[in-house]
Each structure stands twice: as C-alpha cells, then as structure tokens.
Symmetry: C2
Subunit: 401 residues, 2 copies
DNA sequence: ATGCTCTACTAACCCGATTTAGTAGCTAGT
DNA sequence: ACTAGCTACTAAATCGGGTTAGTAGAGCAT
C-alpha cells in the first residue's frame, strides 16, 4: 500500500531536507495528518499561521536550555544520545506546542544545501514538458525537495541564462528536459531526452532502436509498404537519432524509404500547424502513400487535418502513427495510434537519478544514459492497408486512453 | 519594444530580488547579455561555474576594505553616498572580475524575503493549469522571482498541507489555481478561478455572465433551441457560477432548459471519459437535441466521441461548444468551438497582482475580484441547426489555432 | 587650543540554525 | 586522594550578507 504521508519519517535526519525528521512520531502525526473539516462555504478556517514563527533560540529560552541542546535533540544527532528521554520529551512537546519550524534559509545557509532543484523545459504549457514535470514532481515532493521551473522557449540566451540563475539560487541539481545541453556545472545535471556527451551529465533517453522498430513493424504487418515520414526540426535533440533508427528499422524490414515521402517540420514552437504544412508538402509530391509516421503527436494532428482536407480518410486511406503519447493523443477523434514515451516515468527516473547523485555527491561524476522502453499504443488511426480499395465504413471503437 | 533583459536594471535596489542591481551598467551588461557561441557538438563549454563562489568578506579583504563598505556600495545604499566614485569603481570592477554574487540564503535570511512564490494547481500536466502557469512564469521571471509548483490532485489533505510547506519555505506569496481555498495565511494569496470569500484573498475570475451569454447566443443564433448541457463536477469551484449564469442567459434568450438534457461530470481527474459518460446519459434519455454545451474542452472531446458512436455527426447533427480553450482544443478534428478563458493572461494578472500586494505589503489586505473577459472562439464544431434535415458533407475549413 | 563639520569609512551586531570542542558535576575504581 | 569516564549539557564559532551607530582624520573657524 502506498505511503499516505508525504515524507518518510524514518529517514536519517541528515538526509531529510526539511524539518521532517524533527519531531517524535506522535507530533509528526499531528502535524501531518490534517483533517479537513467542511466549514460553511466561504468561511475562512482560522488557521492563520501566525506572522511570527518561533525561533530555536526562543524555544530554548522558554525551556531553560541552550539552543544547541534543542537543535541537537530535534535533529536526532548522536551527540544528543546522552540526553535523558525526559528532556527530549519536553523539547518535542514544546516544539509541537509552539509549532516550531526551523527557518529554511538559516538551515540552507549553514548546510549549503537548498533541497531545491531546478527544472528547465522548452515550455511548461506543452504537454510533453508537463508530463515529464509531473513525474519529476511526484518523486521530488515525496523526498521533501521542491523545484523551480523555467521555460526557455528555445531561446539560446535563456538556455544559457537560466542555469546561471538556478545556481545563484543554490539549487542542488538540475533537470533539463528536451533541451540542448552543453554546460558543465558544479552541481549534478540530468537531462531527459537529450543526447549529450557532456561529462558528468546523466541522460534519460528512450530506446530509439526499439521505438522505430515497433512502429514500422506495426505498419509493415498491416501491409503498408509506401510509408511517408515527417522528421523533427533541426534543433530538436531527438530528430537525428530518431531518423537514423527509422532508416535502420526500414532496412531490416526490407522497406525502402522514398525521398519524396520524407518531409521535415519547420518552425520553432510546436504546433499542429507545422505538421499540417509538412504533410501538404508530402501530398504535393503526388507520390502515393498508405501510411504516415509523424515526428510527434502534435504534428500528427496537423497531418490528419491536411489528409482530410485532401479528402483522404484516416485511417481508411492513410494510417497515421504519432510519437510521444501526450495526453491529448487519446482525446483525438479518431484517437491517435502512437509510440508512447513513458514521459512521467522518465521524469520520475530523472528525479530519482538526480537525488541519488546529489546525495552521494563527490564520489560520482559518472554521466551515461538510462534507457526507457517505448510502447506502441494502438488506437484508431492505423488499420490494414487497402492499396486503393476503400474499405467500408468502420465504426470507431471506444477509445483506450 | 519589449525589454530583452530578464530583469530591470533601473529598479530601486531594495525591491530587486537578486543581485540584479548590484553592478554598474557595464558589468550588468557583461553578465546578462550572453552570447552563445556554437561549439563543436558535444563539446562542453568550459564555463564550469566554479564550485567556490567568492563571498563578500573575501572580496572586501581583497580590496582592503571592510565587508560593510562593499555591501553598502553594491546595494547602492544612501549611506554610501559619501564614498568617492573611484572606490566604488574599484569595488564594482572586482565584483565583476571575481563574479561576486551575494549568497541567496544569507540575503533572504536577513531580508526575511525569498523572492519566491508558491503556486498550487490541480495537476501540472493538465492543459488548464499549465496555461495559467505559463502566464505566471512570464511575469514572475521578468521580475526576478522564481516559483515552486505543486499539484494537489484534488486531495484535500494536500490542499491543506502544501500551503504549509510553502510557508516553511518562506514564500513571499501564493497563487492557487482552480483550487478550493479556505485558508487565511500570513502572506498574500491570489486565486485564479476560485470563487472564495476568504478575507484578503484576491480572486482572478472569468466574467461568467458574459461567458454564458456569448456561448448561448451563438447557439441560439445558429437556430439551436434544444440544447443539452454537461455540468462540472460537484467539487469544481466553477460549476455553480457557470451553471447559474447559463440558466440566466437561457432565460434572457427565452430558451427553456429541459431537465433531461442536463448531465453532470462524475469523477475526480479530468478526462474525456467523464464527458463521454455524461453524454451517454444524455443520449439515453432519447430526448433530441441539436447542440451540446460542455463544461470544459476535455469533456467536450469525450462528448464528441459519444455522439459519433451514436452515429451523430459533429457539427452537422449536433453542434458542440466547449469551455476553456485549452491548447488541444484547436488540435481537434474537427477543431473545437469553445469559450476561451484567457488562461495565460489570467496567470499573468495573478502574478502581477500578487507582486503588487507583496511589495506594498502591510498596507493592503483588500481581497476582491479581478474579472477577465471570455471570448468565443468559433471553430468547426458548431454550425446552423438543421432540425432533422441532414446537410450535405462539409469540407472542413482550415483550423484557426 | 578647542570646537565643528564633513568625508570615508568600519566595528559589531543581526538574521536562525548547526556543530565542534569543551565543561561542570557526578560516580567508580585503584 | 586522584584520575578516568560518564552524563548532560553549553559556549562560541560558523554560514554570508545587511545595517546601524559610530569613529578617525582632515579642514576650517574662532
């Protein structure tokens, strides 16, 4: 059963970021299990967290002890081993009563650690970044870390400036999502979906060999032999690998890729429009195709629009496969068949890896890659190739989100 | 022309969060205008921000001055007015040379301000929250603030716990997006799309009167008289107002709303599935309708699926109007007609309002509301009502994203 | 010689917690 | 009687920067 608590009570005090290990279990429980009572609508609960939190010194004074003692007890330091249980109890009781919470800045200042990490993404509001963030958040919060996010929006100056700002804020580490990475920093860095060779940077990447294979094999088995492709933008860190592996997989299957059936996304910010334009170009070549493999889901959506405009039905006339499986892929009508990147999981793994590196910092400088498996999600935009014979109208099956 | 710099050089030192006002313009420029040189692929730029940043004390020592002097000069304090320009120049030069950056924690510890705000949303990866965040980010970063995000996922305990954690981290203020809010905190709070009467909390809300009017009028003018509705979940802060205003607008237009044509979303996390189920119920009533107004875009997508399964064409047989205009609304085939909430703008306004309140903190405790205007985005899921006569096949027009 | 004003600084404390080195007081052992 | 060892603490330094009250020294006037 999953732990209901946000934080792990049993962590060693030293590695627990906040004041999470500060209290005996009884107090912890009181502090953390919050029962939300329904109060009359609009009636502010009068929690009103006081404007003057107690400090360690005040608490110590109140107890007739020195700040040192209180601090040692509260942090479960071994130096405090000799202090009798009775005193400890008194301290915890007072801490609970006065809702003592160590000042975060003072702590970080001393510890030289912020228990905060920086996340840089192309744009928080695109589904791709957001899904990864969701996974990152999951793990980080559970471990008591918080994170800053920034969107670089593909501006080279920001890609350079933001890490700098992060460092000023003393983040303990960085996660870069789908961002070209060339910096070597003084804190651990993990990239998601980058293909960087920067020393000491760990990459979380998809197994692109498998991704290409699984998608092409699916189309191949459905009888598709004339397959069109939309490549990613030049700047995207994935474009190259993805394409190389598609060529590889095609060779293995004995499929030949026609030049005329390869198009490329043009333009900075992701939008179906780019896929729409790319598909227009494909159609303009007048070379027939029965399937289309798009660089990502967003462009696949635009592609479908272009195909419909050309009076081609999807999937009856042209099957379409996307890439990523962003949330709205399942929401499409027809729902998009796509190669799923386990984005949330990738975010989670990134956070996990980063914290591991932060915790045993110093000893490791190993970069390297962690691969995750893609998964073909077959929905409604692919079907048997018809080779010109139009199949009869198919009722759309229920979506499998 | 928009300021290229992230931060405003001319702010008064006191209100500038980071070390932004710390340098004479020449140094500022050097620090901020970053020219990104293309280096060989994979070659780490050796910026390697050193692991030991200089401290104020070291800098002072190096200059043969006291830390106090350096601090005063760097912060452009009036106490430093009498210090000769020559000394000041020396200080700035050294600061630039050794890349001195004040330690963030030390500063915050002293100033009791973190230049960080907390944002709480239902889920970072849903399009609604993400769009608002994007606007929040825009403004905050420009002002040198950073932000923490957390997703409460509609868990009451987290909605209660996270603000607490934020306060421990000494955030200067909070933004709550689409989150039921009952707490009264010691820092300014701004909610987006909440309808709370908590004292001292500012709400950024949509003009729901207009929203309902504009949507219903549109359908009315297209000749729709039998309109079905999908209401939001019980817990959603918008459900009630939205529905009240729909009834109001209907009355004004002389439209009667049939009980059988009102359905409600059931279920926690937003997904088209909920809209699908709600629509199934509507269809089960066997009461005919020519248009459907959904609670949000996500549910509209599910509704469209349900309609198609029932062999009803959208928009030919049934027009559908969504709400929100999340990104993927424009990506749908057919693209969704919807009432746009200017989410990004709302985020921006929220951030602006919050910072204003933080800056003149103390003097204001005014809650209140700021209204923003909805806008009807007519795309492809609405058309003239046919009253049983099926119109001929329409070519889908090009999307207007 | 004394007082006054001004310039150009600085000493010293503050923010709040952590941590090391140490101490006072007691008991036990030889 | 003296030391060793233990218990139960604490003093004081430290992290890095902000701030207030104040001072040394020069210049000038009386």
């Amino acid at each position: 059963m999953k732990n209901l608590f946000l934080f792990n009570v049993n962590s060693i005090a030293r590695d627990v970021p906040q004041h999470r290990a500060c209290y005996p279990d009884s107090v912890c429980a009181r502090l953390r299990i919050v029962t939300t009572k329904k109060t009359g609508k609009g009636a502010a609960r009068s929690v009103r967290m006081g404007p003057k939190p107690v400090s360690l010194k005040e608490l110590a004074e109140h107890l007739g002890l020195s700040p040192a003692t209180v601090s040692l007890v509260i942090n479960r330091s071994h130096v405090a081993d000799s202090i009798p249980q009775e005193t400890k109890d008194r301290i915890f009781a007072a801490a609970g009563k006065y809702k003592y919470r160590p000042n975060f800045f003072a702590r970080s200042l001393r510890a030289q650690r912020s228990f905060t990490i920086g996340v840089i993404v192309p744009e928080v509001s695109d589904g791709y970044s957001a899904s990864v963030m969701s996974g990152v958040e999951d793990y980080l919060l559970q471990e008591g870390y918080f994170y800053f996010v920034v969107s670089h929006r593909h501006r080279a100056d920001l890609i350079d400036e933001y890490p700098r700002l992060f460092l000023e804020r003393s983040v303990d580490g960085l996660i870069a999502v789908d961002t070209p990475w060339t910096l070597s920093l003084s804190v651990p860095v993990v990239t998601v979906s980058g293909h960087n060779q920067v020393k000491g940077v760990t990459n979380i990447v998809l197994d692109h060999v498998q991704a290409a294979e699984v998608a092409l094999k699916h189309l191949f088995q459905l009888g598709h032999r004339q397959i069109a492709f939309i490549k990613g933008q030049e700047f995207s860190s994935d474009t190259e690998v993805r394409w190389a592996n598609i060529e590889r997989a095609a060779r293995q299957l004995g499929l030949s890729i026609s030049r005329a059936l390869v198009s490329q996304l043009q333009g900075d910010s992701p939008s179906p429009e780019l896929g729409y334009e790319a598909t227009k170009k494909l159609l303009a070549s007048h070379k027939p195709f029965t399937a289309l493999f798009a660089f990502n889901d967003i462009s696949a959506m635009g592609a479908i629009r272009a195909l419909r405009e050309a009076k081609l039905r999807v999937p009856d006339d042209v099957s379409v496969v996307g890439f990523d499986d962003i949330q709205s892929a399942a929401y499409q009508n027809p729902a998009l068949t796509t190669v799923r990147q386990p984005l949330r999981e990738m975010g989670r793994i990134a956070a996990e890896t980063l914290l591991r590196r932060i915790r045993r910092s110093g000893s490791d400088s190993h970069g390297g890659e962690t691969m995750v498996e893609p998964k073909l999600i077959i929905r409604e935009t692919t079907c048997q190739a018809t080779n010109g014979v139009r199949p009869k109208y198919r009722t759309l099956p229920k979506a499998r989100p």
